[in-house]
């Protein structure tokens, strides 16, 4: 490896039996000192690996005593001869050799770290965030950052090969709120004026298409001033792409090629072609527009089942009148769940964000009997008819929901995922990668009743739905596509509107006044008069993708210096107070 310098000939993961008798010099941190009386061993660590240093009290007492006095995390340089170990460690690359040290230099000392520098550390998250530079010294975190770098390299390789040009778009831009809040930057030279940090380079990349750049990409930081609940960061990274003279199929092929290349390069996995699921079907079958297909467990509609239609069970009888649907999932192998366990499932769907009133349960016991929570209303034959419709067999548990469609699908979709996790239905070595296509173009804002966009206002109409645009806009599908990996939305994109008239009509439909349109998107709408080509693109969420590839639970774990859930950097202690003179210069003041 190209890592030798004037201070070291090799790094700590490199030496093996091929180097026996070589005189070498290595540098790193003291991971462990083990003293066996006559012999002392020191494990020295750098980001590439660990090498064992050997000292002998008989042959060189002074050196051996120096080694024994080394503290944890001291930085050292050791020179000596590579020799074969008597006790080999087959678990590490350097486990067959050690260095018979002839010179030991302490390059820097260390006080005792606040937690152990090992993959399984004793440090809590807050402490590790404060000492992030020590946290990153842990191999697992270090490797994640290296994998991140390799993944991004693979992305660039693929796109360069496909003739994309990486163009940097500005970070100090105009505030054009796209849905989330902008971070603002006061201008000192023009007091009272503000730049905004981009939520995405959406408009700029579309302007690059107008400029004829043809194929653009950028690995770029984006900024959203949101409340950081869940796994969000105020600054995040996306792979942002746009291409001209394309239709949806071109973009999908590009993304598939890109994704396959990155999987191949970083995990040596050959992916099959990606499934494409229309949005409506995803919602119907999985209750989600980002289904995890690593396990099955589909939502099955039971409304048209004979036994349901003829049932005297009031909930079923009144379903149609209440605009309710009757649908279910089959929890494979869950018939033996305890009452406590099934109660938990019921509580789960009753939570306010799901709002079901309960679940009808049918147990297909291992002994062949069948039992339900509505035995009073449905006889065994009817239950067996439902079981058949569900494809259920002995040992399974059927969970039926009756409510308004949207509620049922969401609740059963969530329940499906919950069961998947709890019952270990998910094969961790499997990858579920699929397209969701044919998203609706608009939706109704539940609070205001207004029409709002689903993706963003630049998304083009599905070519088959143009006729609905004027009078039934909610029926319009969009040329939008999301890539879902293991149940996480990792990429979203669309074919954009390139025609000024259509763009104007969309803005109108969304209720923008002429003034708002001009103020927020004027320069863009203006640009579209000068020959905008047909174009489309996507943004890939890099942090999420890296987290999935490295098995990290949260994106914080794949970001070198992340913020916590309150948007604070605990290491730097940012944000912080600033000198009032700085605010004076900016022409702003703090409100009490």
């Amino acid at each position: 490896m190209n890592t030798s310098t004037n201070l070291r000939t090799h790094q700590c993961g490199e030496l093996n039996m091929q180097h026996i008798n070589n005189e070498v010099s290595i540098c790193g941190w003291v991971a462990k000192v083990r003293d066996f009386g006559g012999l002392t061993f020191v494990d020295v660590r750098d980001r590439y690996g660990i090498t064992q240093l050997a000292f002998n009290i008989e042959t060189n007492e002074a050196l051996c005593l120096k080694a024994r006095a080394l503290g944890r995390e001291f930085v050292i340089q050791a020179k000596g001869k590579v020799i074969e170990r008597s006790n080999k460690n087959k678990n590490i690359a350097t486990g067959e050799i050690e260095i018979e040290v002839s010179e030991l230099n302490i390059l820097n000392e260390s006080i005792t770290p606040p937690f152990t520098i090992e993959n399984e550390t004793d440090g809590g998250e807050e402490l590790r965030m404060k000492y992030r530079y020590l946290d990153i010294r842990r191999p697992i975190l270090n490797e994640r950052l290296v994998t991140r770098s390799k993944m991004i390299k693979a992305m660039r390789e693929y796109l360069d090969e496909m003739n994309f040009t990486e163009v940097e778009t500005p970070v100090l831009i105009k505030s054009t709120p796209e849905g989330a809040r902008d971070f603002l930057v006061p201008s000192r030279m023009q007091p009272g004026n503000f730049y905004a940090l981009p939520q995405s380079p959406q408009i700029l990349k579309q302007l690059l298409m107008v400029s004829g750049m043809d194929r653009y990409y950028q690995v770029v930081k984006c900024y959203r001033d949101e409340d950081f609940r869940g796994d969000r960061q105020p600054e995040f990274t996306q792979l942002d792409c746009e291409m001209s003279f394309v239709n949806q199929e071109d973009v999908l092929q590009t993304v598939e090629g890109l994704t396959k290349h990155v999987f191949k390069k970083t995990k040596n996995i050959e992916l099959a072609d990606f499934i494409r699921l229309p949005y409506a079907e995803a919602i119907k079958t999985y209750g989600s527009d980002k289904p995890d297909l690593r396990f099955d467990c589909k939502i099955i509609d039971l409304d048209n089942l004979d036994c349901i239609k003829k049932s005297e069970f009031p909930l079923f009888q009144n379903a149609t009148g209440n605009e309710h649907i009757i649908a279910a999932i089959n929890a494979t192998g869950c018939a033996n769940m305890s009452r406590k366990q099934t109660d938990e499932l019921v509580d789960f769907v009753k939570m306010p964000n799901r709002g079901l009133s309960g679940l009808i349960q049918i147990k297909l016991n291992e002994d062949g009997t069948i039992k339900s929570t509505i035995d009073k209303f449905l006889n065994e034959e009817q239950l067996r008819e439902i079981a058949n419709a569900m494809g259920a067999s002995k040992g399974d548990l059927i969970l039926i929901a009756v409510e308004k469609e949207a509620k049922v699908r969401k609740a059963l979709g969530d329940l499906r995922l919950e069961l998947g996790k709890k019952q270990n239905w998910i094969d961790k070595d499997k990858w579920s990668i699929l397209w969701i296509v044919d998203f609706p173009l608009f939706e109704k804002d539940e609070e205001t009743g207004n029409i709002i966009f689903v993706h963003h206002p630049f998304c083009n109409v599905h070519p088959d739905d143009v006729q609905y645009f004027d009078n039934e806009p909610l029926k319009c599908r969009a040329q939008q596509y999301d890539l879902v990996i293991n149940g996480a939305e990792c990429l979203s994109g669309s074919i954009r509107i390139h025609n000024k008239e259509l763009q104007d009509k969309v803005f109108q439909k969304l209720g923008f006044t002429e003034e708002e349109k001009e103020e927020r998107f004027g320069f863009m709408v203006n640009a579209f008069q000068y020959g905008a080509p047909p174009h489309g693109g996507f943004a890939f969420g890099v942090d999420r993708w890296v987290a999935l590839m490295t098995g990290a639970e949260v994106i914080r774990d794949v970001i070198a210096f992340p913020k916590n859930n309150s948007g604070r950097d605990l290491m730097m202690d940012a944000p912080s107070y600033v000198d009032p003179k700085q605010l004076e210069e900016l022409g702003i003041g703090l409100k009490k």
Copy 2:
């Protein structure tokens, strides 16, 4: 090329004699329509090139009329057969062929652009900035952005090969003013608190070394809220690097390898090894720490010349007493300059920022005579002695300055550059690439008399000068190095202090109180207690380097969407006023 899509089989720079008789489809912008009665030719342009479309009124009247009606910058798709041209154009790659069009689709119309989309455009800079998306459609600008992308790709290639890991550092950080003003970002979640945008990732990359990342790089935006006189941008891009367990020689070798690789990959130029010039020598010989060595014209000290020491000319006689030096440059071939021209040179050195009182001139005329502005005091023999010392010959003009050393060196250095430009001494095909090494560690602030740092406070002492640190700090050289390309400082770097005690002493020397140190650099100083390795690095100014490689006069010309000299983006009209509600949420108000 991998640019075919469902709308085009080829791009506009691709087709040649090999494609004769192929049925193709291309897309692009109408550059020109030429109507020759029976025949109509349309030049269609994309970023890859221009292809000629041919229409014949006799064989397809409707299509030909449609072609004639095309306006400038219309976006079209043309399908047809590649045929050989009768009138070949050897100047362009596609000049031997044209397309016999069978189908023409107008993908979008265009109103008349505000300036012509050609390399030599009729649009002024302000207009082109406002319509930047049209400006970038000009091939020259487009190509510069593509070259930028290729250069950055080559940088990454080299560093990846050398085992560097690209790590993204945060953009929302703590305000720790490094010399220039920070851009601030008010925090909504913690009102009264501010993030700052990084002036450079200096501290963070050093912490990455503490974390064991070993070799880091990043192509990264940096931000400085300065007054944008000259060729500066509030946001600019640098290639930021840091490596552990290195000395200065390791870093210099890395930069040389990197630079050579980029020159080879983008311009196919094999660079020789770089000259290394100590700072003191550069100042002495060229009056600048970023000399342009594409031409010679050194500053030569004359104080010790016999004829000068013995001269009765009061200016020379009193020089020593006045702490003045006597030095000169030889303006090769300038003896025939008119009085007006030499007066301009004198005015140039008299400008307030140079402050000389005049120049003594000695002309070595082509006819062998010699003439000076101090003929009264120096005879011909003495003048010839000076000419010899200067290495001057017939036709040359010697310009002598007498003043305090710093003034003389700066003024003659500037004059040297001015002459280089005016006299066309610079070979545009030549590259002057050199290291400036051995910078001073500290300097005296001329206003306050305080000791301030030259590079930054993390710069290590030259190993030979440690003994001066305590008592004669101004004598200390630093382990700092700058790379100068064609007279522009393109890179600056240093070996850093990795030892907490030395770092503390430097902060003390710079006059930081314990509180200031803790407030601004506390987390860094703290980190250095936990085993910081020896490390060093550099930052390469990407914008400047790209400008030099593409022959751009200003860095604006190699940035997709730059700001003007008042920090405004004329296209987006940013910065701008924002909704008072946004400020309310941030807890800030505007000062009247």
